[in-house]
Amino acid sequence: AGGGNAPADNGQASGQAPAEQKEEPAVKKRIALVLPEKIGVNPFFQQMDDGAKKAAEELGAELKTIESTDYGAIEENLRVAVAEQYDLIITSSFESEDALKKVAAENPDRNFAIIDTVIDLPNVRSVTFREQEAAYLMGAAAGLATKTNKVGMVVAMDIPLLKKWTGGFSEGLKATNPNAEFIVNYVGSFTDPAKAKELALLQASQGADFINGAAAVGDLGVFEAAKEKGFYTAGQDVDRTVIDPEHIVLSQLKGTDAAAYETVKSFVEGTFQPGVVTYGLKEKGVGVTYITHDSATPLHAFIGQEVVDKVKAINEEIVAGTRKVPESF
């Protein structure tokens, strides 16, 4: 394939949208979404794919999703996407950082976007989330709602990435209920609901009445344990309360789909800009059901309106900047 498009692309990247809009209807914009792993156990990528697909469909662009089998495949897939002349290449996550840094630097005339982390290059748009803020709200709600003063969390793995969840949660918990005991257990795998369930059962037997799931697909195991033992739980990323409103009383939300949607949309509409966009509570890019976002299910009595109101207040403080949630832990 020839590199004839390069000058046009260049113009587009520097934001000369009107000029380019004219010739556009003839040729569909081609967008590649290169995922750093398989869509599967991590709903995060499914959401991203959905969001991008939705935008592409609505706006008449062509979208190709490429899943990477492993770390080494990411760079390869990015390079191939460049070679195949996609107009915009979107990727995601920390795992893709190194690969994109290389590929984007080598191809300064092409457009890239990365979701969930920051790359400081003139041709890359970065979209990030401040999950710890939502986790903080979650912890705050848990601290207020717990009757036993014991709160648990089942986490996939003890890795830095997930510290945003455990750290934010723990800070929020301390803020509303300094006496509450926080029990954390790690599954050691993203794909082990059986062990996640056993860990939740153990935490319940130790007296936790609210156990937050952050074990990727293992959350399903935590939910099942909740159903069996009657404690309360919460899920991640999307509104999980619909699965079992009796026991899943909250969900921590992350608008990956919106981020992908917006990225595709801005590109097709010609407003695509390099630089950093972050989504936190303020931008409503992350949140917690009932507090920042509505839920399809009615509020459970375990949380109760009183708690919701108190946490809403905390949310406002964070949005206003009067209450600080640490960046890292």
């Binding site: 156990v41 499914q46 059986a194 062990k195 059962l201 153990l202 037997s205 399903l220 195991g221």
Partner: protein
């Protein structure tokens, strides 16, 4: 004893069941001279088939049967490749693991149109058996009663397998084939048939192990939900020297060490170290078992 309460013991028993079943299956293979590294894949296939069976028939009994049948099908492939086509058993085992992961992931999408996990909160899992009298005894009841039938089956299986090996004619011949294949053949024993039978039986056990995982411990299927249990089963099998009761002991040993490591997570040690614990302690345990080593593993040494 705050950090080693009885619910932990009961949890250990549940967690160890799939490992125990798969290890017993592995032992059957190793007793006929075949080192089966495909346990992980066989269990995974069983786990998936159990959910499919349950979903479409609504019968838990049929679901377990379905799980066993699916794993047996894979075992059939394993035995055809290794015995029929004389392929290297380790290559076939590894390929079976890859194949199982790929096929179940693919079928998850094809059958249920979901990626990653299939969870239906209305699907009934295996029932918990409350053993009448024992259930009311304080500690014992908590530990022994209230598990899925497959848990009891697993423990029963190790005893049955013991009886099979050391009391029945066919079991005796199976042992003979593994001990000295040349002599067994020269006696006109049907070595191939015995080997295939052992491999298929291994499939049954692995299938049941999968069913326990996806219908007993949880009620769902997720991609790669075996999470390395097949390899732990392999270790348990070798440590137990392919002896059914030895495997029972080594599986429990590993299970308890795993439980212990969970309890230690609360303390200030980095999780990586607590997670290491079961493996480290297993190696330490080997120091004390050293006198009895050799038997089962010596013929695997020359697997080439």
């Amino acid at each position: 004893m705050e950090w080693l309460d009885w619910s932990l013991v009961s949890s250990t028993i549940r967690m160890v069941t799939p490992i125990l079943l798969a290890a017993l299956g592995g032992a059957l293979c190793s007793r006929v001279g075949i080192f089966n590294v495909g346990l992980e894949g066989l269990v995974l296939v069983g786990a998936f088939a159990a959910i499919v069976g349950n979903h479409f028939t609504g019968s838990l009994f049929l679901a377990v049967l379905f799980a066993a049948a699916a794993s047996v099908l894979f075992s059939l492939l394993f035995s055809y490749m290794t015995i029929g086509l004389k392929a290297n058993e380790i290559v076939v085992g590894v390929a079976i693991n890859f194949l199982a992961l790929g096929l179940t992931t693919f079928a998850l999408r094809a059958v249920f149109d979901v990626k990653g996990a299939f969870y239906d909160k209305d699907m009934a899992g295996l029932p918990r058996l409350e053993i009448p009298l024992i259930h009311d005894i304080p500690v014992l009841g908590e530990i022994v009663s209230g598990h899925s039938p497959l848990v009891y089956l697993a423990f029963l299986a190790s005893i049955l397998l013991y009886i099979f090996f050391y009391r029945t004619v066919t079991g005796f011949r199976v042992l003979a084939v593994g001990m000295n294949p040349v002599a067994a053949r020269s006696l006109g024993l049907k070595t191939t048939r015995l080997q295939v039978m052992a491999i298929l039986l291994c499939g049954v056990l692995c299938g049941v192990a999968g069913a326990q995982l996806s219908l007993g411990q949880v009620t769902m299927f997720t991609e790669g939900m075996t999470a390395g249990r097949g390899f732990i089963a392999l270790v348990a099998m070798m440590m137990g020297q392919s002896h059914p009761l030895g495997i029972l002991a080594s599986s429990l040993l590993f299970g308890f060490m795993d439980a212990l490591s969970i309890r230690l997570q609360g303390f200030s040690l980095p999780t990586q170290f607590t997670s290491m614990l079961p493996y480290v302690l297993t190696i330490v345990a080997m120091f004390f078992l050293k006198d009895k080593n050799g038997g089962a593993s010596s013929n695997q040494q020359s697997a080439r």
